[in-house]
């Protein structure tokens, strides 16, 4: 798919995730999961990634269909600007009109409230699952497992299936706690993971950490589609407003200071030993500034931090030997420090 997109003229340096999609579209909409339908309206809500804009512009040109650019202002600080919310709410209202026109159906606010109520329920359950990683050993890998667990809340949020799914998932985690089964049988290191996974080499990547007994207790990637674990919930009583708030509160829409703060909070609350920054070439929304983040953690906050690079979509940028070298060196020295500390203690 990526190659297909590069044939069309996309540079090898632009986001591989987007190229995957564009390649799929150019491939007559046929991907590994079958054929997708041609859209009547494209809605682009790009929380924190300008690349999305370019992506949807390309799609709109390809399908020759209308594109609604749902603009989400970048989050600049912990306080929310009233103007941001106002702007997004008027956008939502325009979008409602547009949808009414295309579908010929009336907007039904009660239905939306129902959806949000179910969203909320699923969100509560999801947060419980995330919080379970506070236990030692952790019954849940908040990165390698979370990236799969998180899917329904992004694509099926508001449906009953979604609620049921999280109920089942929660039950599974609870069972794990009771039986003491953990994703990493012998938990040696607890880390917080920043950055998306290298999808094409997901297994290999996980193995590199598993061999060192590493469990991820927190991750930022599982928050790209919404951050609920600090209390935000969709509110059926303020439907549009909470949708607007939700859009602001996505991880990639956070500025660097907020991202650092959030990761640091995870470090402390989840009792982690180290931070792993996985910097992917494709995604500047994530990676631009990660090196600076590394400076903050290592030098200012004195958190052992491992910085590794590969890509989230393009398999060509994944080099197992190099990653292994870095990961080994990092945990080797952590282990060594532990032993030395243990001796002097």
């Amino acid at each position: 798919m990526i190659l297909k997109a590069e044939d069309l003229g996309y540079s090898s340096d632009v986001c591989g995730y987007v190229k995957n999609d564009i390649g799929l579209v150019a491939n007559d909409m046929t991907g590994p999961f079958g054929k997708m339908a041609k859209p009547d309206l494209l809605v682009c809500t790009y929380s924190g990634c300008n690349t999305y804009i370019k992506w949807f512009e390309a799609l709109a040109a390809h399908f020759n269909c209308p594109l609604y650019m749902f603009d989400v202002p970048f989050s600049r600080g912990p306080e929310t600007h009233a103007a941001d919310i106002r702007y997004m709410m008027s956008e939502l209202k325009e979008l409602i009109v547009l949808c009414e026109k295309i579908t010929g159906k009336k907007y039904d606010e009660d239905k939306l409230k129902d959806i949000l109520r179910r969203s909320r329920e699923a969100e509560d359950l999801w947060v419980d699952i995330l919080h379970s990683a506070k236990r030692t050993p952790s019954p849940f890998d908040a990165f390698f497992e979370a990236v799969f667990f998180m899917a329904p809340i992004y694509v099926l949020r508001g449906s009953q299936e979604c609620v049921d799914y999280y109920r089942a998932a929660k039950a599974e985690i609870d069972a794990r706690v009771v039986s003491g089964t953990c994703p990493i049988p012998e938990e040696k290191f607890r880390v917080v993971m920043e950055g998306p996974p290298p999808w094409p080499h997901f297994r290999t990547f996980w193995e590199l950490f598993k061999t060192w007994g590493v469990v991820c207790v927190g991750s930022s990637y599982s928050k790209v589609g919404g951050i609920w674990d600090f209390g935000f919930r969709h509110d059926p009583e303020r439907p549009l407003e909470s949708l607007a708030e939700y859009s602001l509160e996505c991880y990639t829409n956070y500025n660097l200071a907020r991202r650092v703060e959030m990761l640091n909070r995870y470090m402390k609350e989840y009792n982690a030993d180290a931070l792993v920054i996985h910097s992917v070439k494709s995604c500047r929304a994530f990676s631009m500034g990660q090196a600076d983040m590394r400076e903050v953690f290592i030098h200012d906050l004195q958190v052992p931090t491992l910085f590794i690079e590969s890509d989230l979509a393009d398999p060509r940028y994944f080099s197992k030997a190099q990653l292994k070298n870095r990961i080994d060196a990092f945990f080797e020295s952590l282990e060594h420090q532990r032993i030395v500390a243990g001796k002097t203690a």
Binding site: M69, D71, P73, F74, E91, E94, L256, K281, S287, A291
Partner: protein, 393 residues
């Protein structure tokens, strides 16, 4: 600056080149030395910073567009990875080396993922520079966009007011908009001259003039441009056997001037480009209404130039580009994007189709600030020119 003697055109160009190649910002240091804390210097990362408001506050608004080839990236690599555009890395490098010390504030806008996060990096690394981030709305077809941007601009105005400890009146802003408009008109005249008489002023010269404008008071630069026109008219020149080309893709990060020279040497007249230099950000000068802030917001939302760093809603970028090709009567298009600049690289795909449909040949390559060898590039342009000239029968 004010103390500068009157220069002849060639001297002026040489002076501009000197400014460009000195990453320590001599003009800004001089300004600071002369004005001290009385007039702050407000820098911005390229494009869409409300320079007029800073101007109205009595500040010197300047655009900081990277360090060019004269600064080695040495410190900035520890803050920013190697796979982002050079402008963001070298701008940071300038700061880490202390070259940005004369600057009091720095404005970043939402032009791309990189610029946005660079704002965050600046904020942390340079506590002495006040970093300001402005969200430029992308949903320009929404009626709420102008209101929203006006609110953002007012936020900026308040920040500037805090800075100078005094209010900024609407009248002052309107006056500043006027000053910038004059500069815009002069720039438009310069481009018109290049389009009609490319032999009178080379694109390299025009580029150097514009680059220098980013670091000096508008009023002065307008005057320089005006006095230049007369000189250029009088230049004895002969039109050479070259093709007319348009450069597209370097709106934010600017190519080294040697690159432009290499393109010209290889047999091209560059009749237009999309460099967003100086305040060339709108199609026409800002149309002043009753509320100057609102007028600025409208200019951005309704008639800013089409460039890759913004969404254009129902005024698609492709149509605009097709028009530009026709208007400039070009023989070829050179897509010249900064390496790793995603907005440019994405748009290339759309725009090259437009050129294909118009039957206009095109060439594309990527550049970096630090490029030192232009041979490969020249070869490519030569081949391109040959393919148009040698077979023109």
């Amino acid at each position: 600056m004010r103390t500068q003697p009157v220069m002849k055109f060639e001297e002026r160009i040489a002076w501009c080149k000197e400014q460009l190649e000195d990453p320590t910002f001599p003009t800004l240091r001089e300004f600071k030395g002369r004005n001290g804390t009385r007039a702050p210097i407000v820098g911005n990362f390229p494009v869409w910073a409300p320079q007029e408001i800073a101007h109205a506050a009595g500040a010197l608004p300047v655009t900081i567009a990277g360090g060019g080839s004269s600064v080695e990236i040495d410190h900035a690599d520890s803050r920013v990875q190697s796979f982002v555009c050079s402008i963001s890395r070298s701008t940071l490098e300038l700061g880490l080396r202390g070259y940005l010390d004369p600057i009091d504030a720095m404005v970043f806008t939402s032009i791309c993922d990189v610029a946005r996060n660079l704002g965050g990096v600046f904020k942390r690394n340079f506590p002495k520079i006040q970093t300001f981030y402005l969200h430029c709305p992308q949903n320009v077809s929404s009626p709420a966009a102008v209101d929203y941007f006006a609110t953002e601009l007012r936020r900026f105005r308040r920040a500037m007011e805090d800075f100078i400890g005094d209010g900024i009146t609407d009248a002052a802003i309107a006056r500043s908009v006027g000053v910038f408009n004059e500069h815009r008109t002069a720039l438009a005249d310069l481009y018109a001259l290049r389009r009609e008489h490319p032999e009178k002023i080379s694109a390299t010269e025009s580029y150097l003039l514009l680059r220098a404008s980013q670091l000096m008071p508008r009023e002065e630069h307008t005057a320089i441009l005006r006095s230049t026109f007369a000189e250029l008219e009088a230049r004895p020149t002969r039109r050479r056997d070259k093709i007319r080309v348009l450069i597209e893709g370097s709106f934010c990060e600017q190519p080294p001037w040697e690159l432009i020279e290499a393109i010209e040497d290889a047999g091209c007249y560059i009749v237009d480009d999309d460099f967003l230099l100086g305040p060339r950000w709108y199609d026409t000068p800002v149309k002043l209404g009753e509320d100057p802030i609102r007028s600025m917001a409208e200019a951005y939302v309704k008639y800013s130039v089409t460039s890759s760093i913004r969404h254009y809603g129902d005024r698609p970028r492709a149509d605009h580009f097709a028009h530009k090709l026709k208007e400039n009567r070009v023989d070829g298009v050179i897509f010249c994007a900064a390496k790793f600049c995603e907005p440019a690289l994405y748009d290339y795909v759309l725009l090259k189709d437009v050129a294909d449909q118009a039957g206009i040949p095109h060439l594309s390559f990527e550049f970096e600030e630090k490029m030192g060898v232009f041979e490969t590039l020249r070869t490519q342009v030569e081949t391109f020119v040959e393919s148009i000239l040698l077979f023109a029968d």
